[in-house]
Amino acid sequence: MKTPFQGQLEEVREADILVGIPSYNNSHTIGHVIRAVMAGLAKYFPKAKAVLVNSDGGSTDGTQEEVRRVQIEDYKTILTSHPVHPIHKIITPYHGVPGKGSAFRTIFEAAKSLKAKACVVVDSDLRSITPEWIELLVRPVFEEGFDYVAPLYARHKFDGTITNSIVYPLTRTLYGKRIRQPIGGDFGFSGKLANFYLTKEVWETDVARFGIDIWMTTLAIAEGYQVCQSYLGAKLHDAKDPGADLGPMFTQVVSSVYYLMGEYQTLWEQGFTSQSVPTFGFHYEVGLEPVSVNVERMIGNFRLGVRDLIEIWRKVLPAETTRWLESIEKLSDEAFFLPHDLWVRLIYEFAIAYHQGLVHREHLLKSMIPLYLGKVASFVKENVDSSAIEVEKKIESLCQVFEGMKPYLVERWKKGE
């Protein structure tokens, strides 16, 4: 039997550009996102047939109604041109495991069904999205022949800590492409790549949740698709309670990274140096919202972890590494410092333990959180007075340690098999 979603897709038949917006209770922000998307499509791709797909996780705050309601009444107020085709809106609930990945799967299915040439996904809680984001994410695919466009944002120096301390350095080290925001959340990709994503059976795993971003980026690089990045400016999104989300967010992202290491082992075992990727967009400085960081609490969490979880870590870490952690635990708040080489060693050792299944995988990943908070605290302390450029240099030096210690990873990984 045909579902209403399939009915809507058949009604539209084909599309040049598909814009996917996953949502869950985002009625306050989704209106702005939709207006920006519609304006972007009308301004930069007025002749293209475009479809907007809202893949909703069962919002109860009127998000779907807001999507239906929002229209740009008079394009002349913001544009000189007018879209040739009306922009179709498809609003559908997604099925499967609740999470961003499942919402994306519905968007990929729509892209396949509509034979879309270029697709974009943008978060529904964005406050800083502009029509230009659509151009920057679509044009490299629509006109330049790229398959995957990752975002490049201006962010506060303490934002994106999982990205900066784990995902970016590790992705770059393993797969050789310097994509600065591999889990940015807003992407452009070709219809061909969307079809490829649909061939994979990962929709019951962490990929169906927060792991979707790194999964998409890694597959695009590892499978040899043409990748690039576009500078979008500042990324400001709806205020959440990051502390409440850290546990599942951290475990789902890191588990996806580690799972992919197992999948593409033969690729990353080869020795190569990382390369930069083509970057689109005009770089400019932006004012960013200040963020507050409770360093003492993070250090406290690290110390508690060393005291209580060391027995679990001993199962996966060499004795010298656990001794190193114990010595850091004894440092005062003022002297607290977690060096890059220890951090890289921890990330690699946990990856090997995850691959070998030495400890229950969810327990293993959750037990990493105090170590991660220790690294964040150390990073914040180190960079309190640093400028954004200086912080970027520090991240670059961390990446070099990751790359420099890759032979250690390869050797230890092989030994464990």
């Binding site: 962010r155 506060h156 303490f158 934002d159 994106g160 800590t161 999982i162 990205t163 889990i183 959340g185 927060f210 971003d213 999104h237 205020a239 309670d241 990051p242 502390g243 989300d245 850290l246 546990g247 967010m249 951290f250 992202v253 963020v291 507050s292 960081v293 409770n294 609490r297 993070m298 406290g300 969490n301 508690l304 972890g305 209580d308 979880l309 679990i312 199962k315 070998q356 299944g357 030495l358 400890v359 229950h360 327990h363 959750k366 037990s367 959180i369 105090p370 964040v376």
Partner: protein, 236 residues
């Protein structure tokens, strides 16, 4: 007189020989059972060992903390080795009992019948203990990690409470299943568990009244003032 003695001795010798002749096949049967049992036990041990190696039983045991307990207890065998030896000795035991049964000695018949009737309960009891232990280790570890991530200073204590509660619960269930002092076990468990809950309730509500008040106040006021002292960095 001499004739009487001769008849008596020959008669008893004949009777003895008759019994030996009747009993001899039973002895042969017992020996055959024992030899076959030994061979079956040895072959089963080898097959089971290779099967456990193939399914990486040692790695799973390490993952569940079972191998750690064995090494802490001074057991040098790997879990796969230990389990295959355990089943080897079980088969030997059953063989021995079957062998004794083959002798058809009246005194042992009853005992063996009881033993075989009890065997399923014994296995079920052991199974309950093993599964209970594994669940206790798993949930104890999960509690420890969750409590550390929630920044609870008493994370280790909480984890031990969870682990021992499940171990005691599974021990109680196993003993109940084995039919050992059923009523005493249930009563002891109910009294102990009820006592612990009451003690905790009294300790928290009476002894730690101020602490409880402070905790609840902080909890609700904290919810009202959500965001104060929180981190506002976006991790992704």
């Amino acid at each position: 007189m001499g004739e009487v003695w001769r008849v008596a001795i020959i008669d008893s010798l004949n009777k003895f020989l008759g019994k030996v002749i009747t009993f001899f096949p039973n002895v042969l049967a017992m020996m055959t059972i024992l030899i076959l049992g030994l061979i079956i036990a040895w072959v089963f041990k080898k097959i089971l060992f290779y099967f456990l190696k193939t399914i990486q039983f040692d790695r799973v045991s390490k993952q569940w903390g079972f191998a750690d307990i064995l090494s802490k207890g001074g057991v040098t065998y790997s879990p796969a080795h230990l389990l295959s030896r355990f089943f080897y000795w079980i088969i030997i035991l059953i063989t021995l009992i079957l062998g004794i049964n083959a002798l058809e000695v009246a005194a042992t018949q009853n005992f063996i019948a009881h033993f075989f009737n009890y065997l399923p309960n014994l296995f079920a009891g052991i199974l309950i203990l093993v599964i209970g232990y594994l669940i206790a280790i798993f949930l104890g570890q999960a509690t420890l990690i969750a409590a550390v991530n929630a920044q609870m200073e008493s994370a280790k204590l909480l984890s031990r409470i969870v682990r021992w509660f499940i171990i005691i619960l599974s021990l109680t269930m196993a003993l109940y299943h084995l039919g050992i002092a059923e009523k005493v076990i249930v009563a002891t468990f109910s009294i102990t568990f009820g006592g612990i809950v009451l003690a905790l309730a009294l300790a928290f509500g009476w002894g730690g009244r101020e602490l409880a008040k402070d905790f609840l106040e902080r909890y609700y006021k904290g919810r009202e003032k959500k965001g104060e002292g929180e981190d506002h960095i976006s991790h992704i």
